[in-house]
Amino acid sequence: MDIKQRITLLIALSVMAIFTIGGSSILLSKNNAAEVKKVTEDVLPSALSSADLVSQVKEMQLITMSMISTPDTNLANQAKDKLLISKKNLQDGVDFQFAHADGNTQHGLIVQTKENLAEYFSAIDETVNFKLSGQSDIADATYFGNVVVLQRELQQIVDTLRIEKSREKDLAIAELNNNLSATVTGVTLLSLAIIIGLGAFGLILYRQIIYPINRMQEATTEIASSQDFTHRVPVTRMDEIGKSIVAFNIMIEKIEENSILLKQKTKDIHTMLQNMPQGILTIAEGNKVHPEYSAYLETIFDTQEIAGQNFMDLVFANSDMGSDTLSQVEAVAAACISEDQMNFKFNSHLLADEIKKTMPDGHIKILDLSWSPILDENDHVIRLMLCIRDVTELRALAAEATKQKRELEIIGEILSVTQEKFHEFIISAFQFLDENEKLIRDNLHQNNEVLTQLFRNMHTIKGNSRTYGLNHLTNIVHEVEQEYVCLRECNQESVWNQDVLLGELHSVREVLEYYSNINEVSLGRKGPGRRGGIEHFLMVDKRQIMQTIHHLEKATYGNIHDLREAHGAVSKTLRLLGTERIIETLEGVFGSLPSLARELGKIPPIVDIQENGYVIHSQASSVLKNVFMHLIRNAMDHGLETPEERIAQNKPQAGLISLEMDVQDGMLQIKLSDDGRGLALNRIRKMAIDRMLVSHDDSLTDQQIANLIFLPGFTTASSVTEVSGRGVGMDAVKDFIYKEKGTIKIRFTDGNIGADFRQFEMVVCLPEMLAESIDGVHFHSAYQDKFDLAMVDFKSNEMTISKQA
């Protein structure tokens, strides 16, 4: 039952109660009124008339007595008339009493009265008759003998009746009073009961309404103070208030959901601000930095004092911005904050977007600034948001990438020209520059003939440069050439100034030197090359250069990862320019092994090459060829045994020559070993004694004996063989290596100290700069495959290449 129904019920019950009280009062009053009526109209008149009967009886007696006593007949007749009236009255009185007799006693008394009255009246009538007939004596006698006796009896009966009536009257009045008081009590009790009942009902209703409302109010207050939206108000009954509470709970649930969302969002933002590698701050009115800013800002500015600081000090102190620019930035901030957003639009172009800031430790950071307004609901700027990125590295990389791109383009340009032609071009260009320099120095003032000559020389360089597609060079030469044209033709604007002209010339020379340097150093094309010969200089695929340039162009200059990657790739490419694999360097040596083996009656050996990811600069190519030609031929001749000897020693027929490259302790280390008989220490010692290099008595370690082979003129071969004994001994090999600031030594690989033959490896060390690591270089697949090779198999005449597992 809902509240409306309950209130309606309460009202209905109240109305019913009023009717009940009123109805019962009326009913009871009506009963009482009937009783009152009975008492007033019946009991009381009857009681009064019973008293009248007594007096009427007496009156009749008196009239009778007066009639008897009077001698006057007239008076007697008058008395007779009076008697008649009195008789009638008495008769009426008795009839009245009869009619109003109540109970047997009264009824009996009245019946008795009536009987007595009849006798009484006849006695009187007898007396009256006697009197009027003149028989006074008989009349007297009748009177005294009958009437008086009857009158006395009557008198007694009537008196008894009167007493009876009076008693009845008292009883009736007492009963009436009792009834009235009972009515009052009844109505009062009924009213009280109804009031209590309705009150209780009302109270219950009141509690049912007020309690839940109070609970809701308490919950609201608690939620408001604690912000605990998990609170719910219990629903006890589904009336209007119950429904309101359900709605209230749903609302709180919604608020809770939103609050959770809001908390999550706030947390997200907080996490972002804590972890994003970018500085973010907002500027409030008064140019103060809002306390919520990204944690990275502290890294950028190298301080924790950020919140509440003036952003001008925080961001722009020790920056490259002039004071006027700074005052503009400050004015713009003031013109925007708490103003309409249009002001931001109008003025934001004056906000600095990149600054160079000197940090307390002296190093300079390049900061990228981007500004945006934070608006309120009226589109007014409440705060300015400033995103700060440290682009120092990005800018450096971008600059580096630009430089690299230029270098690569220039390499591409150079590679398009043959070594010989390029060499000729460079020589002639330098000559023209020298000539121009002399012309400028020799002439203090403008001379048009000289200008023409200057122009012609520069024009020639430009023509050649353009022909060979050397675009970077062409551009700068063109600029200088145009300066000459300007001097000659529009002399008002330009004047002959030796310093300026020499400066211009110098800039051309610098670019030319740059080209020349790349050609000679990076590309290893020093000199004119071999005319008509195979130009064996291009160590890096030109396609790769083009790919690298493409890679660089594709890189987004705003993206540090792109730039880093491009930078890395380009660096590698540039470093790998003019390098080659040792397989390529020693191709000729390895290629000659099969025929050499045949000459020596041996089977071509297997050559195992471990490059370990290193390639060598072509400038080391010559020394490596010379050194390893000798060392490998030595291994073939003196080290590896004939097939018969090998089989006897349970070795494979074909010998194994191993070459391993590595970089250790800042040196490129190339180790060469073979599985042959080893170093003939005893024989070396004997030969050294024969050649008086050491004496018989010298006590030498194995290492000392081994080192004897590096002495000039030492040779162990019994005769100068076709193969290794060509007059170039190990001393020459050592010299080659020393010239390159390298070392060579023999390292024993077995523990057989003092044995005639000991296993060993030749360790050649060269400066690290002669090697280059190819790790992480992204070659296109064909190239990659080539570099995966490590095993070159010389079993047959054909050089077969197999991939290392």
């Binding site: 008064g286 005052s327 503009q328 400050e330 004015a331 713009v332 901030a333 003031a334 013109a335 925007c336 708490s338 103003e339 309409d340 249009m342 002001n343 639009k345 109008f346 003025n347 172009h349 004056l350």
Partner: protein
């Protein structure tokens, strides 16, 4: 046609702004300082917008706007202030005087034009 009052003591700025606005089909009235601007506004009911410098001799731009609002009781005319610097008190007064636009010098002509178009609507 709505007129625009350009107030600046620098003839260079004043002429450049006025010329630029005229080129863009706007009706321009010029004044050399705040006092001049005030009297021009008194005599010309067609002025709907004021572009004014802040620092000027005789009467500065802000005082002029305050007098326009106070003495002349003109609260409808919109104002764009051209400024080089800003201070809290300047901003406070500007706000009280109902200045809607602030353009920091140096500015581009089209910025002024755009702001005028925005405030003339």
């Amino acid at each position: 046609m709505a007129q625009i009052l350009v107030v600046d003591d620098s003839s260079t700025v004043r002429d450049a702004v006025a010329e630029f606005l005229r080129k863009n089909n706007l009706d321009v009235v010029v004044a050399v300082d705040g006092k001049d601007g005030l009297s021009k506004l008194k005599n010309d009911s067609g002025i709907k917008l004021i572009v004014s410098d802040v620092n000027m001799p005789n009467m500065d731009g802000l005082t002029m706007v305050e007098k326009i609002r106070g003495e002349l009781g003109n609260t409808s005319v919109n104002v764009i202030m051209l400024t080089t610097e800003s201070s809290p008190s300047l901003k406070e007064r500007g706000k009280a005087a109902g200045i809607k636009g602030w353009i920091v010098k140096p500015f581009k002509g089209d910025v002024v034009l755009e702001s005028i178009k925005k405030l003339l609507v």
